[in-house]
């Protein structure tokens, strides 16, 4: 992880663009899955953010998170609606949570824990925004399905990401570069 120790390392646009394209593709897949409310996220597009934790510098990671937000807005056609606010809030919360958890506790926490923490942060922010912007106190009734779906998919995505990190030759080459 030499790139993290070099503060003046230039942003690797090609690598960020590749991961951003991955988020765009996964956002499209997620958009195809029916959901009871449009701002509910399964979290598929979080996978590149999880994989990127070990290979991107802080600026590159922030850029990837921004591109994920913009990509999701473009794919779902919600970039100029209130849904974009939910997307921005949830992406910021999950990206920050996963990034700092990885930086502080990667010896003790793997991709499953990081993924769950990111999903919970994302869902709690979405529920809080919907509580104060849309529906008032009654919105907490949607918390159980929101959190349950987020928890289950985060475990599955975390297991996949951990296997990818452990086995991918491409990932190891990027970490070593």
């Amino acid at each position: 992880m030499t790139q993290h120790s070099n503060k003046h390392h230039p942003i690797r646009i090609d690598l960020v663009a590749l991961l951003a394209a991955f988020t765009l593709f996964l956002s499209t897949i997620e958009y195809l899955i029916p959901k009871p409310v449009p701002f509910m996220r399964i979290g598929l597009a979080n996978l590149p953010l999880m994989i990127a934790l070990g290979i991107l510098a802080p600026k590159e990671y922030a850029l990837l998170a921004l591109l994920k937000f913009l990509g999701q807005g473009l794919v779902t056609g919600t970039i100029f609606s209130y849904v974009a606010l939910f997307s921005l809030g949830s992406t910021t919360a999950s990206a920050c949570t996963m990034y700092f958890l990885y930086r502080i506790g990667k010896r003790w926490v793997g991709m499953v824990g990081i993924g769950i923490a990111g999903a919970m942060a994302s869902n709690v922010v979405q529920l809080a925004l919907s509580r104060y912007i849309l529906f008032g106190p009654g919105m907490w009734l949607i918390a159980p399905p929101f959190l349950t779906v987020g928890f289950v998919t985060a475990v599955l995505l975390g297991l996949f990401a951990q296997q990818f990190v452990n086995r991918s030759v491409w990932y190891k080459s990027k970490v070593a570069s």
Binding site: F135, P144, L147
Partner: protein, 124 residues
Amino acid sequence: MKVLKIGDFVIAILSAVLVSLSFLSYGNLSGNPTVHIKSGANEWIYDIVHDRTVSISGPVGSTVIEIIDSRVHVSHSDCSNKVCVAAGWKDSVGEWIICLPNNVFVLIEGDRTPTPGGIDDTAF
């Protein structure tokens, strides 16, 4: 290489507790269910055992809600994607239907038992 670390289990257990606690928002599941319909600042509460059809006006038109045989569904909506109509029938406490484009929120709550005569047609 290990797939799971000790922190994964800690975070998973804490999150599972959070998810479990969220189910407390369903309130008293044994209570008599009432249908709450919210549109903007208005809220209407209907006894689920009394059949009726309610039409709510919103930003994109009307949302028609039917309560039949202790179940509730959105039978018609002027919104474009009809997610609320596709949600189908709901009959259990804690279930909900949302029409975001028309700003209509239908949920079944169970912690308020109607008095004799029923909480019926209450608007506030």
